[in-house]
C-alpha cells in the first residue's frame, strides 16, 4: 500500500475511534492499538507509540476545557500523578522485556474489562468523611453544583494511590489512557464525585502518557509517518464528538462501541494465544 492511501485509511479509522470514544466516554485510545495491529498489520510496538501520542492530544485538548470549569481537583491530580508516572516508567521498562504475544493477551483482558464496566452503573457516593491522609494532604475539595459549591471528602487514599500505579503501568504497556482503571481508583476507592473524578482523571492521562511516550521516543516506538494520521484522526474525531455529544443517542452508541470492543478483545486474545501478532 502506498503511504498516501495508508495514511488516509488509518486517519479515517482513527477519526471514527476518536468520535466513538468521545461520544461514549470510554475514550478512543482503547481501540486504536487493536485497529492498527489487527486491521492494518502494524507492529504492536509502533501501534502503542502512535496510540500514546493520540492519548496525549485528546486528553490535553479536553482537559483544557474541563480545568477552567472548576471541576478538576489539581491537588488530587498531582498527588496521584506521582503514582501514575512512576507506574508508567515501570511499564515502559517492562515493555521491552514482555513478548508481544503476552501484551496482546493483556490487551484483550483489559478490553473485556472495559466492555464489562461499560454496562455497570456508576454509583456516586459523596462523602464528608475524610481519610486522615486526605486531610494531611489537603485533598478534600469542593466543586460547583447548580451555582453553589458542594464540598466533598476523599476516602481510601493509599488504595487509590496503589490502583493509580497499576493504571500507569497499563497505560505504558498498552499505549492507552487506562480511564477505566483510573475511574475505579477515583470513584470506587476514593469516592470522588463523578464530575471531579472524570475531569481529574482526564487531566492526569496526558501526564501519565507523556512519561512513557518520552521513553518510547528514544526506543523508536514513535514512527512519525504512522503517528501523524493516528494523532490527527483521533483528535479530529474527539473534537467533533465533544461538539455533538448533547445531540447524540449515547445508549445506542455505547452498545455499538461495546460490541466493537468485545470483538477486538476476542481477536487480540486469539492472536496473542496463537502467537499471530
Amino acid at each position: 500500500m502506498t503511504l498516501a492511501l495508508f495514511a488516509l485509511l488509518v486517519a479515517l479509522g482513527s477519526f471514527l475511534a476518536g468520535l466513538l470514544g468521545a461520544l461514549t466516554g470510554l475514550g478512543g485510545g482503547i481501540v486504536v492499538v487493536p485497529m492498527l495491529t489487527l486491521l492494518f498489520g502494524v507492529n504492536l510496538r509502533y501501534a502503542i507509540g502512535a496510540s500514546l501520542v493520540s492519548v496525549i492530544a485528546t486528553s490535553s485538548g479536553a482537559a483544557a476545557a474541563y480545568v477552567r470549569e472548576g471541576y478538576t481537583n489539581v491537588r488530587v491530580g498531582i498527588f496521584l500523578e506521582v503514582a501514575t508516572t512512576t507506574g508508567a516508567l515501570i511499564g515502559a521498562a517492562l515493555a521491552g522485556l514482555i513478548p508481544t504475544s503476552a501484551l496482546a493477551v493483556l490487551f484483550g483482558l483489559v478490553l473485556l474489562y472495559t466492555a464489562w464496566r461499560s454496562f455497570q452503573p456508576r454509583e456516586e457516593h459523596i462523602t464528608q468523611e475524610a481519610h486522615p491522609l486526605a486531610t494531611e494532604l489537603r485533598l478534600n475539595g469542593s466543586y460547583p453544583v447548580g451555582g453553589r459549591m458542594q464540598s466533598y471528602a476523599v476516602q481510601k487514599v493509599p488504595l487509590g494511590f496503589a490502583v493509580m500505579g497499576v493504571a500507569g503501568v497499563l497505560s505504558a504497556l498498552l499505549g492507552i489512557g487506562s480511564g477505566v482503571v483510573k475511574v475505579l481508583a477515583m470513584d470506587r476507592a476514593m469516592q470522588l464525585p463523578f464530575k471531579v473524578s472524570t475531569t481529574t482523571s482526564n487531566f492526569m492521562i496526558g501526564v501519565t502518557a507523556a512519561a512513557s511516550a518520552g521513553v518510547y521516543l528514544h526506543r523508536g516506538y514513535i514512527e512519525p509517518t504512522l503517528a501523524f494520521p493516528v494523532m490527527l484522526g483521533v483528535l479530529g474525531g474527539a473534537l467533533l464528538g465533544a461538539r455533538i455529544l448533547a445531540r447524540a443517542n449515547t445508549v445506542w452508541l455505547r452498545r455499538l462501541f461495546t460490541a466493537v470492543v468485545v470483538v477486538l478483545a476476542a481477536e487480540m486474545l486469539y492472536k496473542g494465544l496463537t502467537g499471530g501478532l
Partner: protein, 133 residues
C-alpha cells in the same frame, strides 16, 4: 481567600492557576498539531506514492529518536523530522503543565505540593530527556 486578596499579595489563587493551565494546554496542543500538519503535508507530497509497511519493528535504527536529531532534522527541512518535532511538542505539553503547576505551588508557598510536583516533573524529564526506564 479571594482572588483579589491573593493578587495584592502577588500570589496566585487555585482558580487563576487553573485558568492559566487550561490556556497552556490549549496552546500546546494547537502548536503541536500545526507543526504535525506542516510535516504531514510535506511527507505526503514527497513520499505519498512510496509503498509502506509497519509490520517489522526497526526500533533503534529509526533516525528520529533523540531530541537533538529531531530538532536538527526539522531545521534541515526533513518532513518526517518536522512531524516528529510536532509530536515532541505534544509530549512536552503535559510536562510544561506540570512545570507551571510547580511554579504556582511555589508562589503559594505550598511546600508539600512543591515537593510532590517536583517529583512528577523529575520523572517526566527523566523519561523525555534520558529515555531510559
Amino acid at each position: 481567600m479571594t482572588d483579589e486578596r491573593n493578587l495584592k499579595r502577588g500570589r496566585w489563587s487555585d482558580h487563576q492557576v487553573e485558568q492559566v493551565i487550561g490556556r497552556l494546554l490549549q496552546i500546546g496542543v494547537l502548536l503541536a498539531t500545526a507543526v504535525v500538519i506542516v510535516g504531514a503535508v510535506g511527507v505526503l507530497l514527497h513520499h505519498g506514492a512510496t509503498p509502506v509497511s509497519f509490520r517489522d519493528f526497526a526500533g533503534e535504527s529509526s533516525p528520529w529518536r533523540s531530541l537533538g536529531a529531531v530538532v536538527h532534522g526539522a531545521a534541515r527541512g526533513e518532513f518526517p523530522a518536522i512531524v516528529q518535532l510536532g509530536l515532541v511538542l505534544l509530549i512536552a505539553t503535559p510536562v510544561a503543565r506540570v512545570a507551571l503547576t510547580l511554579g504556582a505551588f511555589a508562589a503559594q508557598k505550598d511546600r508539600l505540593y512543591v515537593l510532590l510536583t517536583a517529583v512528577v516533573l523529575a520523572l517526566l524529564l527523566y523519561g523525555l530527556i534520558w529515555g531510559k526506564a
